[in-house]
Symmetry: C2
């Protein structure tokens, strides 16, 4: 196959006619497929069913500290849950607070608290004329939705192979006091699956923010979500790195078991310096009497410790890996030669990021929809839903069955080809 | 026994000496008793242990709508949980949203959202110079803590036997546009156990607020928390009442199963008009992907329906009733004649409210502490922790065992007597 850019108008038109026929056949099947969200599949959820058996009417429901987990109280979470999630996210157990079922909720509350009450005694953001966040792109739409909701100006920072463009990050953070935060998914990033290099993390820790209330929002959502046993990315632990550089308060770290146990009924946590946690507790004690300790206990009794959790993640990987490879193989086989898109082979996480020819992403997603395939909306990986070159598409291969995935990848590739063909035909005419 | 106010100095001094001896004996036992918080006892929590058995590894975990409760999603809660909690709080199932484990958290978020984004399109409170809340007193300290946290000015409204002083409420709400809310615990109120009369509720519904974004914060925390089968209070349903009066949007209603199932692992909910719920969802969908649906399912499978819940509350009553009566009997027997305090016999809820002689509450709580009895801090039932006449004390009889309670009531009564005696002796000298 020769690249589309080298085809004559005749060749392009011929190819299009042949693919349109194929597309029409698929469309006629009235399929309903979904590669839009990073949702674990039923098979993955089945892995944690044992968690529903570890507590029953005969169980000892006291925490290791002797607290009745059924009753009110314990703002920080029970000690054994702190230990489990601290190990999971590689921080000391006294630097983590266990929350409810959603790390997104913690992040929202963190921005909200900064907006209403400020960060560690600094001016509440609602009293400031300008508050800005840096947003490595492509990134996670729900992060961007939070900052947009609070009217925070978002600035795109291009992602490189080793993480965000740190020259640009340093330039903004170290000079502009209205820059109060940066959204990071530092390991197996959403959507590219990129892990920040050692040098990138060290440059983060060496930032000298113009604003004392600048914080790195380090959403370590995929910390132990490897796809392979032998090929794994490693990420330097940011809290320790910031401490070494004399700025222990510069980072908030978020994590959860949503994609480890159950997405709707997991346990989320936030790790930070003692001073940050003290600041956070001042709000928390007004907001709640404590989170669900029985669910914390359930997680500890099921996983036992970090080793149990790592073993459990191998089972997830065994289910996810073939799905990622199925999609990647179709992309490799069908698109490699055509020069109409590029993608990254991630070693973990939940997504494959696809960059189409500029100006084609929206049309590709619409085309796929025509054949019954739902994709994440084009643009969603950018602040305000605006991809400036309309190129990035997030592929979420986790939820469909392998059989559905094979057809879904086929539809996607066809859509990419057809939209790209239109582009070239238009250029030639 | 003659009232202290009628005693001579000699009689007072004699009585004091005799009681001091008694107090010293109890103090020497180095007791550690707690009547400070409305915490269910272990025996009450044991009632719901079956809830840990209703879901296991073999269970069908689909909601009635066919949704896998383990996975992400479902912002409003699963339909069967909506139905159960709607029945519990007497509203239509499509007017309720099911949240996480804490109604306090919902109330906090509601005030926070109004502060950052305003209510249904009105100016966010953070942009206003003055925001005021009415606070019926005595009331719930955690309510007052939320409004204090957001810098909202709190205005004391005296509680009468049939609810808040509605003349005063109408005067404020109907004339002052900076009055944005009122905290209410309308049934078995915290701490007095008062239920708002039909006329009080109707006057609430007939309010004509000067501020369009005024809301009644109707914390129906003890809606089905009766102590007796035969003597039960009835409260008119406020959402319907407001709707009838043409102001369906004027009220937010909160409830939870914290004191029905498990305080740390219950299910909380908010009911409101469709327009209010739509406004709330605009925030919720940014804040979370959904609350813990497995725990919702657990509650539905355990209680089955509102009848099951009502039956369950009878078992709670059987445990709580003797405790309330134990304390009330000690108060009746020991204090009735002395004219040094008054109290209300509640028919439900979690508290007994005691009004000491003006200027005595702090000293009584301190005295009780001396003998090892923790009480809710005097003043806690008032905004800013300031009881203007230092009189009200909240008694929480639910947590101690009946044996502990007998001693605790004894210590309390002794403390009331001793502090009151000092007062009269001082007056006589």
């Amino acid at each position: 196959m020769i690249p589309y850019c080298e085809m004559t108008l005749e060749q392009l038109t011929e190819e299009k006619a042949s693919l349109e026929k194929k597309f029409a056949q698929i469309k006629a099947q009235n399929l309903k497929l979904d590669m839009s969200r990073g949702k674990p599949s039923a098979a993955q959820l089945d892995l944690a069913m044992g968690m529903l058996d570890v507590l029953d009417a005969t169980s000892n429901l006291k925490s290791s500290a002797g607290v009745d987990c059924r009753n009110y109280g314990v703002l920080d979470g029970i000690p054994e849950a702190q230990e489990l999630l601290a190990d999971m996210t590689e921080v000391p157990a006294n630097q983590i607070i266990i929350y409810g079922n959603s790390s997104l909720n913690i992040m929202f509350d963190t921005v909200s608290r900064s907006y209403t009450h400020g960060v560690m005694g600094h001016t509440p953001w609602c009293k400031l004329d300008h508050v800005k966040f840096l947003c490595p792109v492509p990134g996670y739409d729900r992060h961007f939705a939070i900052t947009e909701y609070f009217g925070i100006e978002m600035i795109n920072i291009p992602m490189n192979e080793d993480g965000p463009d740190m020259d640009l990050v340093e330039q903004y953070v170290n000079n502009d006091p209205s820059v109060k935060g940066i959204w990071c998914v530092p390991k197996y990033s959403n959507p590219q699956g990129i892990t920040y290099s050692d040098e990138t993390v060290r440059r983060f820790a060496r930032l000298k923010p113009a604003a004392d209330d600048f914080r790195i929002y380090w959403d370590n959502a995929y910390g132990i979500h490897h796809l392979y046993d032998d090929k794994q990315d490693h990420l330097i632990e940011i809290l320790m790195e910031c401490k070494k550089e004399g700025r222990p308060d510069m980072v908030y770290k978020f994590c959860s078991t949503s994609k480890i146990s159950f997405p709707g009924s997991g346990v989320a946590a936030m790790a930070a310096s003692p001073a940050n946690l003290e600041d956070i507790r001042r709000q928390m004690k007004i907001q709640t009497i404590g989170h669900d300790k029985l669910n914390q206990l359930r997680h500890v009794r099921f996983f036992k410790d970090i080793h149990g959790m790592v073993e459990h993640m191998r089972k997830h990987a065994d289910i996810l890996r073939p799905k990622f490879e199925a999609v990647l193989n179709v992309l490799d086989n069908e698109l490699s030669d055509l020069q109409i898109g590029s993608w990254i082979r991630p070693r973990g996480g939940y997504f494959i990021s696809f960059d189409a020819l500029p100006g084609c992403a929206k049309a590709i997603v619409a085309k796929a929809k025509e054949a019954g395939l739902s994709m994440t909306g084009a643009g969603a990986t950018y602040p305000y839903g605006k991809d400036p070159i309309d190129s990035n598409i997030r592929i979420a291969p986790s939820f469909p069955t392998p059989e559905e995935l094979a057809i879904a990848a086929e539809i996607f590739v066809l859509s990419v080809k057809l939209v790209s063909l239109d582009k070239f035909i238009e250029l030639r005419q």
